[in-house]
């Protein structure tokens, strides 16, 4: 990849995506490299055990190792150190940094202060581009990435995985349907990008009408914190929950995805169906992150550079 940092899915061209996915497929098939000297810095300013473990595993499978700043409570951040200072210090130890932060734009800011590659592992409601790459990997394996119809449902306003994915899909021949309550529609900046990209996009408040057309249904969680009133939340969340019966109306080859963790937006009886792909999707995080690290880390660990 020609980028020094991975901050936003917006920066990924179709060619970039394909290069990462192809490399990921090689790792998936058992390819190994020896990056024994490489050290990845894990800076998680908010807890995300799953994403952190996925990066940790990926780096160790490449033969390298990780250093972890630990929890915010135990670090100097608690004492009021700026993000700019923290990343400059850790960049002195590590060959690349992975950053998860509660504020939008944090990874962008971090990248301006260090010489090592920065990978955004989620910044507030902003972007989560490595999730997007593993989502794309999963979609490619199950439905292909061209001439398909994808439905994205749930919290489209705050869901950063949605923002990253919607943008990345515009690089491919994909019809996008967005299904959400009125109050959780896509934010202005995401619509702007979709519009600029000339994307084929429709918005709906109900899944029913569009479900039979979909090759992929990407479900996200609607968080209770987004609603001041518990009742309002229950009413809204209930309408965007799917179970095996809902999916009777779907095509046989529908792929159901979810970035996980789920709460109750996908009923357990869906797990038993052929549609369920979310656990495979989570597994794909490791080969995809191996590919990305191997391509972004300096040096001669692989042929991806």
């Amino acid at each position: 990849m020609r980028h020094d940092h991975l901050i936003s899915a917006r920066q990924l061209s179709r060619g970039d995506v394909e290069a990462v996915l192809d490399r990921a497929a090689e790792f998936d098939a058992g390819e190994r490299v020896a990056r024994d000297d490489d050290l990845l810095g894990l800076l998680f300013f908010e807890p995300s055990t799953r994403t952190k473990m996925s990066f940790d595993t990926a780096m160790k499978r490449l033969g390298g190792d990780t250093v972890d700043m630990g929890t915010v409570e135990s670090s100097s951040v608690k004492k009021g150190e700026s993000l700019a200072d923290t990343v400059r210090v850790v960049a002195g130890y590590a060959d690349a940094l992975v950053l998860r932060h509660p504020s939008e734009g944090a990874a962008k800011l971090a990248s301006e202060f260090v010489d090592v590659p920065v990978i955004n592992a989620g910044d507030g409601a902003g972007q989560h581009p490595t999730q997007t790459l593993l989502d794309l990997y999963t979609i490619r394996e199950n439905a292909g990435l061209d001439d398909i119809t994808v439905g994205i449902m749930g919290d489209l306003k705050y869901g950063r995985t949605v923002h990253s994915l919607a943008g990345a899909l515009t690089e491919f021949d994909v019809r996008q349907h967005f299904i959400s309550p009125e109050s959780l529609r896509l934010p202005k900046n995401v619509r702007y990008d979709l519009h600029e990209a000339g994307a084929d996009v429709r918005e709906h408040t109900e899944l029913g009408g569009v479900l039979p057309e979909l090759d992929v249904l990407y479900v996200t969680r609607i968080q209770r914190e987004r609603f001041p009133d518990e009742n309002e939340y229950r009413q809204v969340a209930g309408e965007y929950r799917i179970d095996a019966e809902t999916l009777d109306a779907a095509r046989d080859d529908l792929t159901v995805m979810h970035p996980l963790p789920r709460v109750d937006e996908i009923a357990p009886d869906v797990d038993e169906t052929e549609y369920a792909t979310y656990f495979d999707q989570a597994h794909n995080g490791v080969p995809v992150r191996m590919a990305l690290l191997d391509m972004m880390l300096p040096g001669d660990g692989g042929d991806g550079r």
Binding site: S8, S82, L83, A84, H101, P102, S103, E104, G105, A106, K108, L109, E112, D123, G124, A125, G126, K188, N189, Y192
Partner: protein, 155 residues
Amino acid sequence: MSDSNQELRVSKIKNGTVIDHIAAGQALNVLAILGIDGSGGEEISVGMNVPSDRLGRKDIVKVEGRELSPAEVDVLSLIAPAASINIVREYDVVEKSRVTRPEVVTGILSCPNANCISTEGEPVESRFDVLDDAVRCGYCDTILREDLAEHIATD
């Protein structure tokens, strides 16, 4: 011709800047975006909603004793894209220019997203990419289209 006649309603200045062809209703925002409120001792005349050949109606601002810098003029373009700038010395216009839209404005606007890293005391200036009809935060991607003047950073 009618243009210059109308301008007579606003007093001539000796030394300073005349910002002409501001879209009607934007004069006060222009002053706000430039941080000009008279507290620096400048004499300011404002003509609002005056007839204009080019714009139908326009606003005009004259600032005595202050010459705008190119950077200030750039920022002005965000809310007054058709404006022209006349630098006046001894009652004569010595420089006449149109505003041009910069690609980026730095340190002028503050991001309206309360969760944006650029608002959190980090050692960086705010940075906005200029789009066709809006600006976009270089950190969090938030798009700001209306009421730009309300988001002028105050120190």
